[in-house]
């Protein structure tokens, strides 16, 4: 059966693949989370299902809504709204999501990233050490300057 090439069309199969991937990711993360933090697996799994649900809705909105907005924005906004202190879902969402540590999610995520970026290695080597030095200054520059500005404004506004 040919795979539908139009990315705007949502097929049942495509959604099924997303759900399966999210399920696999949730299970691996919950195990990693248990190994690292000994959080009870059942509660963490509910937490991961909440996060996966938000992701699924974000992915669907990106494809179904007529706006040129990335799923990254939808996912962030839905997650924010569900956890707002005055929204009824807040207690439930924040309790279970807090059982999944960020570090567990990132660790599993970056294991996939490590395998996924392996094919870029040749490009990386071709660019050479000069590019590496500039990149290091690019990242350091934005990080240190942002932190300095934040610190100055935090002190000036009396927030810290």
């Amino acid at each position: 059966m040919p795979f539908d090439p139009d990315p705007k069309v949502i097929t049942f199969k495509r959604v099924l693949y997303w759900i399966l991937l999210l399920l696999i990711f949730s299970i691996i993360t919950v195990i990693a989370n248990y190994v690292g933090y000994k959080h009870p697996m059942g509660e963490a799994l509910i937490g991961m299902f909440i996060l996966s649900g938000i992701t699924l809705v974000g992915l669907l909105m990106e494809r179904l809504l007529p706006y040129q907005i990335s799923n990254i924005i939808y996912i962030s906004i839905i997650g924010c709204i569900l956890a707002l202190p005055f929204v009824p879902t807040s207690g439930f969402v924040t309790y279970y999501v807090s059982k999944v540590d960020l570090i567990s999610i990132v660790t599993v995520f970056l294991a996939y990233v490590g395998i996924g970026i392996g094919r870029d290695w040749k490009d990386f080597k071709r660019i050479g050490w000069r590019g590496v030095i500039v990149t290091i200054f690019v990242i350091s520059g934005t990080y240190i300057c942002s932190a300095t500005v934040a610190q100055i404004v935090l002190v000036l506004t009396g927030a810290i």
């Binding site: 991937l21 999210l22 709204i81 294991a111 934040a150």
Partner: protein, 315 residues
């Protein structure tokens, strides 16, 4: 505004979606990949966080996420096991775009939960976005001293993640030296950025006399994996502030996602052009091999395009 609308209509955006859709076809087929990732994750989490003291006060915090990424990369490159090959790498890459979701959702939940705290520090959160321009002052002189010419504008006007790629390619053209520059830093950033920023965050937190809140806000640079890698050492170092730190980091990253391209178009690129015009005659060098060292676009475009598309899933 023309720049932005043009960027949106770029065909590669949908081509990329289509490619991701193809890559995540039948995820159960690559069950060995998922088992491999599970084992990598268990090993990484068992090693846990390691704190290495460089001196009495300066320390580096090594996070499980670093081990996971490095083990994954080694598994692919050294090929000690047969079943992590090109096919699995493609699946992993396609899956990254889906898996970024729970990561972002986790940070978003922390932000929503801490709404009142976020409101208190609103000015700092917004103004620190301007700090992203710091990359120009730090990196442009270095790029010029190393002998880069127009490439340096692409390399240093922004953090060189996906939206910036679009802007530079749109403004200067795919074959331009500026586009070569932005692609070069993009590829290197994909490879070492996550690992480097995690080191940087842990060293800065122990060396610079700034509040953890300031570092948390700074970690939002418009790349989800770098964001998470930068905030993780801080969460480990200040566990009682964990949720607030996550909220600041996540929200600041969201701001970067939303407004980063505007800052780049209206401030970053003009500022880089201006500084280039004045600095290049003074400290510019003629290094013979520098152009061939970033020969990305001298390859056939399809390879470059695919390397660009490939890594889009990272963020």
């Amino acid at each position: 505004m023309r720049v932005i609308s043009a960027k949106k209509d770029q065909p590669h955006e949908h081509a990329f979606r289509e490619k991701t859709d193809k890559q995540i076809k039948k995820p159960w087929r690559e069950y060995k990949l998922h088992i491999t990732v599970l084992i990598i994750s268990i090993i990484s989490m068992s090693i846990g966080v390691q704190k290495i003291y460089l001196s009495k006060t300066v320390s580096i915090v090594l996070m499980p996420l670093l081990y996971a990424m490095i083990i994954g990369l080694i598994l692919y490159l050294a090929k000690p096991i047969k079943f992590v090959g090109k096919k699995q790498s493609k699946m992993a890459e396609g899956a990254m775009l889906v898996f970024i979701g729970p990561l972002l959702a986790k940070l978003a939940v922390a932000s929503g939960q801490s709404l009142y705290v976020l409101a208190q520090v609103g000015p700092a959160l917004i103004l620190q976005e301007l700090g992203n321009l710091g990359t120009i002052f730090f990196a442009l002189p270095i790029a010029l001293l190393l002998g880069f010419k127009r490439e340096s504008i692409g390399m240093t006007s922004s953090i060189c993640r996906e939206p910036n790629l679009g802007i530079i390619i749109d403004k200067y053209g795919f074959k331009s030296p500026e586009a070569k520059g932005v692609l070069a830093v993009f590829v290197i950033g994909t490879m070492i950025g996550t690992i480097y920023i995690s080191f940087l965050a842990s060293v800065c937190a122990s060396v610079l006399p700034l509040h953890p809140y300031a570092f948390a806000m700074a970690s939002g640079i418009g790349s989800a994996s770098m964001n998470a890698a930068a905030i993780s050492p801080l969460v480990y170092m200040y566990p009682n502030m964990a949720n607030t730190l996550l909220a600041f980091a996540g929200f600041s990253n969201l701001l970067s996602f939303c407004f980063g391209i505007y800052a780049s178009i209206f401030l970053g690129i003009p500022l880089t052009e201006y500084l280039y015009k004045h600095l290049e005659p003074i400290i510019g060098r003629n290094v013979p091999d520098v152009l061939s060292s970033i020969s990305l676009s001298s390859k056939d475009t399809s390879t470059t395009e695919s390397s660009e598309e490939k890594s889009l899933g990272d963020d």
